[in-house]
């Protein structure tokens, strides 16, 4: 049952990820954003299969909720009708495809040849990513990074307010 679900979610993730990047029917950024939402939701499904329940919820709330709403707002703020008229140049497509295929080849080779050796010594997984142990680790061992992160969010907020003032100087 879990394996069937894994293959379903993995196929959905990769298919929707492909549709974000290279949708053959539509060049509209809104379509890409919607497929990105689907990708993120199916990734949350994969997180659930990995027993990372809290992160699956956070993924849906933060990414599919907050970040994508921000994206859609900006898409609708900008008038991007021009995008559909431009065509992708063949040279960029070929060279980019070759570069990405090379990167994938390197990663895949590493995974296929090194991961069996890596995972041979592992015991059976019994980790549960529920809120309690996650929160305990976050507020004891990782307290300082957590506080720094809150400062980072404050900096981002101030930066956005500064950037969206009418006369940028």
């Amino acid at each position: 049952m879990q394996d069937v679900l894994f293959y379903c979610f993995a196929a959905l993730t990769i298919l929707c990820g492909f549709m974000v990047v290279a949708n053959p029917w539509s060049r509209n950024p809104v379509t890409s954003a919607m497929f990105l939402v689907l990708t993120i939701v199916s990734l949350a499904g994969l997180f659930t299969l990995l027993h990372a329940f809290f992160l699956a919820a956070v993924q849906v709330l933060v990414y599919a909720g907050a970040v994508m709403v921000l994206f859609l707002f900006v898409i609708m703020l900008l008038d991007l009708k021009e995008e559909a008229r431009r065509k992708i140049r063949g040279f960029g497509m070929i060279s980019g495809g070759i570069a990405v295929a090379a990167v994938f080849g390197i990663i895949f080779k590493t995974l296929v040849f090194d991961t069996p050796r890596l995972s041979a010594g592992l015991s059976a997984p019994n980790l549960e990513g529920v809120t309690k142990p996650l929160g305990e680790t976050l507020f004891t061992r990782y307290l300082l990074p957590f506080e720094i992160l809150s400062v980072l969010l404050l900096v981002a907020m101030v930066g956005v307010i500064l950037l969206s003032k009418r006369d940028l100087r």
Binding site: Y7, G17, F18, V20, A22, L50, A52, L118, L149, A156
Partner: protein, 101 residues
Amino acid sequence: MTAGLEHYLVVSAILFCLGLLGVILRRNLLIIYMSLELMLNAANLAFVALSRFNNNLDGQIMVFFIITVAAAEVAVGLALIVALYRKRQTAHVEDLTLMKL
């Protein structure tokens, strides 16, 4: 075949390469941004898978941090794109070849 560590890592690698392809291929700033999010999510998946199969919670904490940083990054980046669009009326990288506003 049961889904082991390498299955998740392969999905993560494919997703990362799709994001990279988007950054290289697409010329729209917003879609480049979405591809960046795709790459970050691929890294998240690898972190969660390794955390699960190593019985170590640190990877999930790292994913938590990555999600937060990504949210901040998206906010700042989209504000920059909007500011740029106001000045130059375009969100296309081929029209943005000057460093001067």
